[in-house]
């Protein structure tokens, strides 16, 4: 039991942030018209591409002779960039259609 209490106290900021972000996510998304479900999913998809920062840090702090870490890190950066760039561009393409529609 002690370790749970310790863990909670040590990571208090993190736990607060976690819970509040969960509520914020729910709050932000509720009341979305069905037409926007797909672009919204696609936009959220691009946002979790933020994981690329982790892969940059891997490469950035790997020893230059640690080829396994560098290789995996390189792959991770490529994949993360795909997620970010592809995600935002696809979302933008979907939403362009809506713009055209409104201007009519």
């Amino acid at each position: 039991m002690d370790w749970i209490i310790d863990y909670f106290i040590q990571n208090r900021d993190f736990i607060f942030l976690l819970i509040m972000m969960i509520f914020l996510g729910i709050e932000v998304i509720s009341h979305v018209p069905a037409i926007l479900h797909t672009p919204l999913m696609s936009g959220a998809n691009a946002i979790h591409g933020v994981v690329i920062i982790g892969s940059i840090l891997i490469m950035g702090y790997s020893d230059s002779d640690d080829y396994l870490s560098l290789g995996l890190g390189f792959l991770a950066v490529v994949l993360g960039t795909l997620n970010v760039v592809g995600g935002f561009v696809v979302t933008n393409r979907m939403l362009e259609m809506f713009k055209k529609k409104r201007s009519k």
Binding site: W3, F14, L17, L18, M21, I22, L24, G25, V28, I29, S30, V32, P33, I35, H37, T38, P39, L40, M41, S42, G43, A44, N45, A46, I47, H48, V50, V51, I53, G54, S55, I56, L57, I58, M59, G60, Y61, L68, S69, F74, A76, V77, V78, L79, T81, L82, N83, V84, V85, G86, F88, V89, V90, L95, E96, F98, K99, K101, R102, K104
Partner: protein
């Protein structure tokens, strides 16, 4: 000091753009700006990481290699996103989601090796990030292949039991790993979990029907968000944490909203009611007769109507028939026929799929009616043209409580005076159930490719 301030300040701005971006994405008016805002925040977060981040006073090394990797990713990602057809958007989202999942999994693999200090919280986030990222990756790839039509469904009761067992196994291994035990020899546990999680992702998505893929993609999307947040915990990185959790929770809510639009529960989708027992027996063979109609006859029927409803489905998207559809609408309006579109919330492969497609063909927004409005208008409609839709106009959803789609709101095409169904064959839709609409007295079948049939109808209507 300054560096930390710039990095953390950049992250704060980035996190705010993510929240605002998502909020703006949920309104048609601001959606596009919201996406661009979030993209700006992302670019800022990446830039401050590359150039100002310091760990123990050291800047980010191997910069040329990182920039090369980013250049490769940018070129491929941009190219794929620009080249993809509007109809293939859903699988593209799934593909990019899988990339993010794989990225999270790789981070965990490397970090486990790189850090000797193994305390509980650290290990837990490593293993959770690894497993969730891997499942998201392989699951998204299967969803991608399914939507591309390259992989079918694998339905087997044994698979369901096996899935539960594998999931329990994975959870057990995560606990073992988080406690710092190494049952597979020094440093091998992450690789074992990696492989099992990849397999589980495949097994998890395989039995789920193609029609439910949007829900699965949305769920996997929120998984990747959680995996990214795990990485944030690992690095004590605020933007990965906030961005990841935000997508994790927003994605979960979005998934639930999608299942609600289909009047089903998430569990129902995941356990897979579609294709279950009893579905095939919904309509008995033998006593069903269909009436075919020729294109000229159909054109005359349409041209002399007062009001026509067009009910599009996935077949319209596959045949790229949205422009032909718009042409038919214009030709009919020139003849003084009132035309509207009845859009089912989950017609096509994604909620909103039809709206996006028809918008591409410049169909005016006010002609697109949602299912409820359309159902009110259908009894006063002379002809309803069903273009490549099936499950969303299936009366069994209302009449047969044992049907897999029972309770799903449908467009009551059969209430129109006459129904023309344009379809390539009598093959059932994604729910794999027969559709009694096709055998009704007022239904006429037009077996043809949607685009070809519509284009020919346009010519005939103009002459009628």
């Amino acid at each position: 000091m300054w560096n930390t301030f710039i990095v953390e300040g950049g992250y704060l701005i980035g996190a705010v753009t993510f929240v605002l971006g998502l909020k703006m994405l949920s309104h048609p008016e601001t959606a596009r700006r919201g996406n661009l805002l979030a993209a700006f925040g992302m670019a800022l977060a990446i830039a401050v990481t590359l150039f100002f981040y310091r760990r123990d006073g050291q800047p980010v090394g191997n910069l040329p290699w990182i920039l090369l990797a980013m250049a490769i990713g940018t070129v491929i990602g941009w190219w794929m996103a620009v080249k993809v057809k509007m109809t293939a958007m859903p699988q593209m989202v799934s593909f990019f989601n899988g990339m993010g999942g794989a990225c999270a999994a790789l981070i965990s693999l490397v970090e486990y090796k790189a850090h000797p200090q193994h305390e509980l919280g650290f290990l837990l986030s490593i293993f959770l990030g690894l497993v969730i990222g891997s499942v998201s990756f392989s699951g998204s790839m299967v969803a991608y292949l399914k939507l591309e039509g390259k992989v079918g469904n694998a339905h087997h009761p044994v698979l369901r039991v096996l899935n539960v067992l594998v999931l329990i196994g994975i959870l057990a291994l995560i606990v073992v790993g988080a406690l710092g035990l190494e049952p597979f020899g020094e440093g091998n546990l992450p690789w074992v979990l990696f492989v099992i999680a990849l397999l589980y992702g495949v097994m998890f998505v395989m039995p789920i029907g193609g029609a439910d893929m949007p829900v699965v993609i949305s769920l996997l999307n929120s998984f990747t968000g959680v995996a990214a947040a795990m990485g944030g915990f690992l690095y004590d990185n605020m933007i990965m944490l906030t961005g990841g959790i935000l997508v994790g929770s927003a994605g979960t809510i979005l998934t639930i909203l999608m299942t609600r639009a289909m009047n089903r529960s998430l569990l129902n989708v995941l356990v897979g009611a579609f294709g279950g027992a009893g579905a095939a027996a919904a309509v008995k063979d033998g006593d069903k007769t269909i009436k075919e109609i020729s294109i000229p006859d159909a054109a005359i029927m349409l041209a002399y109507s007062q009001r026509v409803a067009i009910i599009p489905g996935y077949g319209l998207a596959v045949a790229q028939a949205q422009h032909a559809c718009h042409d038919l609408e214009k030709a009919l309006e020139e003849k003084g026929v009132e035309v509207y579109y009845a859009i089912h919330p989950v017609a096509g492969r994604m909620p909103g799929h039809m709206n996006v497609l028809l918008a591409e063909a410049d169909v005016p927004y006010d002609k697109l009616l949602e299912a409820e409005q359309a159902n009110e208008l259908l009894p006063q409609t002379d002809v309803a043209i069903v273009v490549g839709a099936n499950d969303v106009v299936n009366p069994l959803a209302e009449t047969d409580p044992t049907s897999p789609i029972a309770g799903m709101p449908v467009i009551r095409a059969w209430e129109a005076k006459r129904v023309i169904v344009i379809k390539r064959s009598l093959r059932p839709g994604y729910a794999k159930i027969d559709n009694p609409l096709f055998y009704m007295d007022n239904t006429y079948m037009l077996f043809n490719d949607a685009k070809k049939a519509l284009s020919e109808l346009v010519l005939e209507v103009k002459q009628a």
